[in-house]
C-alpha cells in the first residue's frame, strides 16, 4: 500500500524555481493499480523517484506498507520489495548485449525468464547489441527484466513509450496478470487518451 500525505516540493536553481504537488495526497491499496496522468513537468517521474528514496522532498510524508520513506530513504528497498522501471531505460543497462545484461542480473537462470521472454517476444533479441535494437525493442527488454524481478510493488514510468500496438497489448496483459497475482502497480503517462490503461486514474495538475 502506498500513502502520499500532503506532499509539496520546490526545486530551485539560481533564480529558477519550480513548485510541485501543492499539498497532494492519495493512497493506493495493496493489489490495486493506479495511473498517474499529467503534462510534462507535472512531477510524475519525480514522484516515482521519491517513492524509491531517490529524490528528497520538502513537505508531507510518503509511506509504503507503513514504512516512512523519508526515514528509510534509499534503504526503502530493504523493507519493501519494489521495482522501478525508469523512463530512460537505456541509461540503466550496464552491458553491451541483451544476453550479457541478463547474465549479469542473474535473470537467465531465473525460472520465470522463459515465459517472460515469450511474453515480450524478445527471444530473438538475446544475442543482439543494444545499438542494434529499435526504441520499442529496448523498452521490451527493459520490461522483461523489470517483471522478472517479481517484486510486490511495481513503479512504471511511461512504460507504453516506444511500444507499438501489439506490444502495448502484450504489456497490458502482463499488467493484468501481475494484478491477479496480488501485485500493486503505479503507472505514469502523459497521454491516456489514445490508448488508455484500463485502471483507476488520477490527474496531476501542472502548477
Amino acid at each position: 500500500m502506498i500513502q502520499v500525505e500532503h506532499l509539496s516540493h520546490r526545486f530551485t536553481w539560481g533564480n529558477y524555481e519550480k513548485h510541485l504537488f501543492n499539498d497532494f495526497s492519495f493512497s493506493l491499496p495493496k493489489g490495486k493499480a493506479l495511473v498517474l496522468i499529467g503534462e510534462s513537468g507535472s512531477g510524475k517521474t519525480t514522484l516515482l523517484k521519491m517513492l524509491c528514496g531517490l529524490q528528497q522532498f520538502d513537505k508531507g510524508e510518503l509511506y509504503i506498507d507503513g514504512n516512512n520513506v523519508r526515514k528509510l530513504a534509499i534503504n526503502i528497498a530493504e523493507k519493501v520489495n519494489l521495482s522501478y522501471l525508469p523512463q530512460r531505460v537505456s541509461d540503466y543497462f550496464l552491458e553491451q548485449s541483451v544476453e550479457k545484461e541478463f547474465l549479469l542480473s542473474g535473470l537467465l537462470e531465473d525460472a520465470n525468464i522463459q515465459s517472460i521472454l515469450n511474453d515480450f517476444n524478445i527471444k530473438s533479441l538475446l544475442n543482439k547489441h543494444f545499438n542494434e535494437l529499435s526504441g520499442g525493442e529496448i523498452q521490451r527488454v527493459a520490461c522483461a527484466s523489470f517483471f522478472a524481478s517479481n517484486s510486490d510493488l511495481l513503479l512504471c514510468d511511461e512504460p507504453a513509450a516506444y511500444l507499438d500496438k501489439i506490444n502495448l497489448d502484450l504489456l497490458k496483459n502482463r499488467m493484468q496478470y501481475e494484478l491477479e497475482n496480488g501485485k500493486t502497480i503505479l503507472i505514469t503517462t502523459g497521454n491516456n487518451a489514445s490508448n488508455p490503461w484500463p485502471f483507476r486514474h488520477l490527474e496531476l495538475l501542472n502548477r
Binding site: G14, Y16, S40, G41, T46, Q87, G135, A161, N195
Partner: protein, 213 residues
C-alpha cells in the same frame, strides 16, 4: 517529396534487411511513417539523413532521434547553444521556438540543468533546436513520447506552421494525434514497404488498426 530507394543489411544479422523503394510523393509535405517495432523505420530515416555513410542522396535530411539525451549533450540549454552555434545565433528566434512549444523562453530556464528536467521538457527543447536549425527537411522520430495531450496538440500546431512555410517533414509515430498533420502514410513491415497511401484514404480503412491504438 521525393525519397530515394534504400537497401541495407547488417553484416552480423542475415535475417533483417532493409529494402524500401523510391518514394515519389508529389505535393506531399508531411509524411507519416508507421510500422511495428523493429520494422526498420529509424534505420531507414538515419540512412536518409546520411548518418551511416556519406553517400549523397541529393536532399540532406536532418534526423531528430527518438531519445532526446542522444541530442542534448550539454548541461544546460545555454551551454548547448554555445557548442552548436557561433556568432550567427539569434537569441530572439530561438526564444520564439521555445515559446511556440510552450516552454519558458527566459535565462532562468535556459540555465536550469537539463538533467533535472522531465522527459517531455527535454523532448520539446530538442524539437526547438530542430525547428531553429534553418533546415528545410526534418525527420522527427517519435516526437510525442513524453508529451501530454495538450503538448502534443501544441506540437501539431507547430508542425503545421513549419510546413506552411514550405518545409518538408517526415514523422515516425504511433500517435493518432500527430498523424492528423500528415497528408500521406507509409507503413513498413520487416524492412519492406507494406503500403503507401494518402492519410485521408488510409483513415477510412482498417489498415492502421494494427499500428495505432
Amino acid at each position: 517529396m521525393h525519397l530515394p530507394s534504400l537497401k541495407f543489411q547488417y553484416k552480423q544479422d542475415a535475417k533483417f534487411a532493409l529494402d524500401i523503394p523510391e518514394l515519389l510523393l508529389d505535393g506531399i509535405q508531411i509524411l507519416n511513417i508507421v510500422g511495428n517495432n523493429g520494422s526498420g523505420k529509424s534505420t531507414w530515416a538515419k540512412h536518409l539523413a546520411g548518418l551511416f555513410h556519406k553517400k549523397n542522396h541529393g536532399i540532406k535530411w536532418q534526423y531528430i532521434p527518438q531519445f532526446a539525451e542522444q541530442f542534448l549533450f550539454a548541461q544546460t540549454i545555454n551551454e548547448q547553444i554555445k557548442y552548436l552555434f557561433e556568432h550567427d545565433f539569434i537569441r530572439e528566434k530561438f526564444a520564439s521556438e521555445l515559446s511556440d512549444l510552450a516552454l519558458p523562453p527566459n535565462d532562468e530556464f535556459m540555465d536550469f540543468p537539463m538533467a533535472l528536467m522531465s522527459g517531455g521538457e527535454l523532448r520539446r527543447i530538442m524539437l526547438a533546436f530542430a525547428f531553429y536549425s534553418h533546415k528545410k527537411h526534418i525527420i522527427l522520430d517519435e516526437p510525442t513520447i513524453g508529451l501530454g495531450l495538450k503538448e502534443s496538440l501544441v506540437l501539431l500546431n507547430k508542425i503545421n506552421t513549419f510546413s506552411a512555410m514550405g518545409n518538408e517533414l517526415i514523422i515516425i509515430s504511433h500517435d493518432k494525434t500527430i498523424m492528423d498533420a500528415s497528408q500521406h502514410v507509409c507503413a513498413f513491415e520487416n524492412g519492406t514497404l507494406l503500403y503507401s497511401q494518402s492519410t485521408e484514404d488510409v483513415k477510412k480503412t482498417s489498415l492502421l488498426d494494427q499500428f495505432i491504438g
